[in-house]
Subunit: 484 residues, 2 copies
């Protein structure tokens, strides 16, 4: 449970990073100086150095104690691995948990790797069950077992439930910090009930109304509670027609709901109508950020977000799958060119021109796919308008083919003073742009139909087709019309 | 001002879209049947058809009246232009404003184009000043002038202020729906003051504490107000060390602050310490979504988000700049190959292999750039660690060069049974991957230094260099070692 009030908010977290870096430099300097003195050093010197270092580390610890856990997480992420671990050691043990929750997956792994089972157990003690569930995939099994044993029956149930949903389901994002009330009481009673809390949970904009069996009845927004007279009954003010999420709902569907209706929190209700948790806007925002990052990473062929200070070996592995895939499609394209070696031997100009045909269609097809993937994500594409879109994209492809194909044809003609090469160039560009428009549309639509995420892998497949297709069309046309 | 309670929330907005599509089909059917009847039709028939159509439209209007403005916006975006305008006509005039705020820029343009100055003026009447400011860039000048005249002095000041900030500044995203209180009163007084509101503004999780001159003093979270006794003074509970934004702050900096500290709202305070507005999490979330979309669009070379039903001409224009740029770099790469036509004429195998050298390095460089752009956005790169990163990326480039270059060299050797071609292939891959790693790092870093957004344009430049560079290195090595 993060109690923001205890720690400093900061306008510019980079300032703190610089301060920490400065302290680390001072710390490292002592060691360097010690190593540089070639003479054998007496114990007293060594002792002084040690004291000095200790002092720097103590200063660092004091600095960290004033920072918000999210800011410490930021600093840890921005530091190379040795310095990161040095800073991590200076963090008070009872704050480890809240910081582990904040850091990125890759960095979390590097921190957990240095912690003993006991330290990990202690770290989880300060966390809510939904936070423990987030951490669980990175924890050793025996630690999870110990954590489980330390929980109350209710908490065990919550943890089990939170861990049972896939990462992209509402159930995995929800928390259990709900304030529930009954409908047959007055606002006066509610207000007195709330005063018994030390503090309301973060992001409490709604009170959830349930019956004795925890069946969800409706919500009472705080902003309603505050403007009505104390005598009013909850039942008179509660809203029953409200957004209700289910733990099995897709998280991106829930995210769109939050964005559409500008929600701060929403009840999560199971199939039997029981209130099982709530989803809050901060979890939704984290989810959106993570999704959009993984979209960008996927486009560049990175499997997951990378700790920029990870080892060469680890980073390379994150990038290999994509390079291997691209090498395969490049080999294929190379063999397509190989089919026309005879033609190229006669007209070397073809070798200089063919990358243009392949490249532009690839770019254009990528534009189409990007637009379609976005429209699919927003649910804007139905079977009625899909056919319309095919027509439109083909029309744009044809227009681009005539304009850019025309320019490329002119370029080829002027360069090689051969009208036929110019015409072949323009025709090949036109055909390949049409091919690109078609596959740029059909690949994401087909992936969606097959239940796969169209954002993953569409572009490799696409480029493979426009490359090989471009070479085939251009060299094929040339073989037909130039060599006969 | 959106009063969510009045309209239906909906679990699946696509259901509503289908219903609307169904009504539109029925409506269109009447017309088609009328046209298909070849006989001259008497007036009575025409009248019946008209009545039928009217009835369908009335049904449509009733359906729309129950929907949340965001859902109507969604439906408008998912409909082709003629049907979109038909639906738009059925929306009650007094809801036009709140819907215009919700639709995407491209679709908003298409709707506003059909509205008269008077209708636009009426639409803005239901909006808050910060919402009018959002709409203003799309409104004709005379309408803005009329709107301005219709506002109170305070609202004029707010509108002027909101419109004076660039789109990516906090000032452009903030709203003015703040509840302000004094510090020298008791919670009891605050509670009575709140009860005088009909409803508190959306996203009110904080009350803002100001003095008589509107100088910002601190905040009182509702969750504190609710748990303390009525006699307590505001001064005893208010938080003075809190996140304070400035209207000139960059919006993405504010967004990171919201994410880091899990905020729902934050005060916006000017240079003189006066409270001028507040930023809420829903605006931040919209901003994040828009940013991440424009990142993905920029990567694919689309200038802005596209209305999928925009005309071919309009869509093509959105895509041309990028294609023109790519054509230029493709021409350049083509001329690089042209320098080595003599060598290719002797060894046609080179033409089949050269795209592999160019392509893989382009992919690998793109991976590097993506990681660096992300790290730059998070402020994780300092002058201290930049040098370290150069070393790391070069090491990954070398590793990839040996592994994938080795495989490609083997492929070339087995195919053409020429050891030298294999060795040249591997060497060229290695060198081009190193070149890619270097430019993949330096391009975004340089752009950042020049104050430009590294996410825009990095990839064209990158691919241009790895393409031309790859051709030059591979064909250059071949010319040196094969033809002598």
């Amino acid at each position: 449970m993060t109690e923001n009030q205890e720690h400093h908010y900061t306008e510019d977290v980079q300032e703190h990073l610089h301060e920490v870096e400065h302290l680390l430099e001072k710390h490292a300097l002592v060691e360097t100086v010690a190593h540089q003195q070639e003479m054998p050093r007496d114990e007293r010197h060594i002792l002084v150095d040690k004291l000095l270092q200790k002092q720097h580390l103590a200063e660092l610890g004091q600095k960290l104690a004033t920072l918000h856990p999210a800011d410490i997480a930021y600093i840890l992420e921005a530091l190379p691995i040795e310095q990161r671990l040095l800073v991590w050691e200076q963090v008070e043990a009872d704050r480890d948990g809240e910081i582990l929750i904040e850091v990125s997956d890759a960095v979390r792994e590097s921190l957990i790797a240095t912690m003993s089972g006991e330290e990990l157990l202690e770290a989880t003690e300060q966390l809510d069950t939904d936070e423990i569930a987030d951490l669980a995939p990175d924890l050793p099994h025996d630690v999870i077992f110990e954590v489980f044993k330390s929980l109350s029956i209710e908490e065990r149930e919550q943890l089990r439930s939170a861990m049972s949903y896939p990462e992209d389901a509402v159930g995995a994002l929800m928390d259990f910090d709900m304030v529930t009330i009954r409908e047959d009481v007055s606002l006066e009673v509610v207000t007195r009930y709330l005063r018994r809390f030390d503090e309301l949970p973060d992001h409490t904009d709604l009170l959830f109304i349930v019956d004795r069996e925890d069946n969800f009845k409706g919500v009472l927004p705080l902003k309603r509670l505050l403007v009505h007279e104390p005598e009013t009954e909850v039942a008179a003010l509660m809203i029953t027609e409200t957004v209700i999420l289910h733990p099995d709902d897709k998280a991106d569907h829930a995210a769109q709901t939050f964005e559409r209706y500008d929600l701060v929190s929403a009840p999560v209700v199971d199939a039997k109508g029981m209130l099982v948790g709530r989803l809050t806007v901060n979890s939704v925002m984290d989810f959106i950020r993570a999704e959009s990052e993984s979209d960008v990473l996927n486009l560049a062929g990175l499997r997951e977000e990378e700790d920029i200070f990870a080892s060469v070996w680890k980073s390379a592995q994150n990038r290999w799958l994509w390079l291997a895939l691209n090498l395969c499609t490049a080999f294929f394209a190379s063999r397509v060119i190989g089919m026309f070696e005879g033609t190229i031997a006669k007209f070397v100009a073809l070798a200089t021109l063919m990358p243009i045909v392949a490249g532009i269609a690839g770019n254009s097809a990528n534009q189409t796919t990007t637009i379609i993937i976005r429209a699919l994500a927003l649910g804007q594409i139905s079977s009625t308008n899909a056919r319309r879109l095919v027509g439109k994209e083909l029309a744009i492809g044809a227009l681009n083919g005539l304009v850019w194909g025309g320019i490329a044809g002119l370029f080829a003609f002027l360069l090689y003073e051969n009208l036929l090469i110019g015409v072949i160039m323009t025709s090949a560009m036109l055909l390949n742009l049409l091919l690109g428009a078609l596959v740029g549309l059909l690949i994401p639509l087909t992936m969606q139909k097959l239940g796969r995420d169209p954002a993953i892998g569409s572009s490799v497949l696409l480029t493979a087709i426009t490359d090989s297709g471009g070479f085939f069309i251009f060299l094929g046309l040339a073989t037909l019309f130039l060599t006969n």
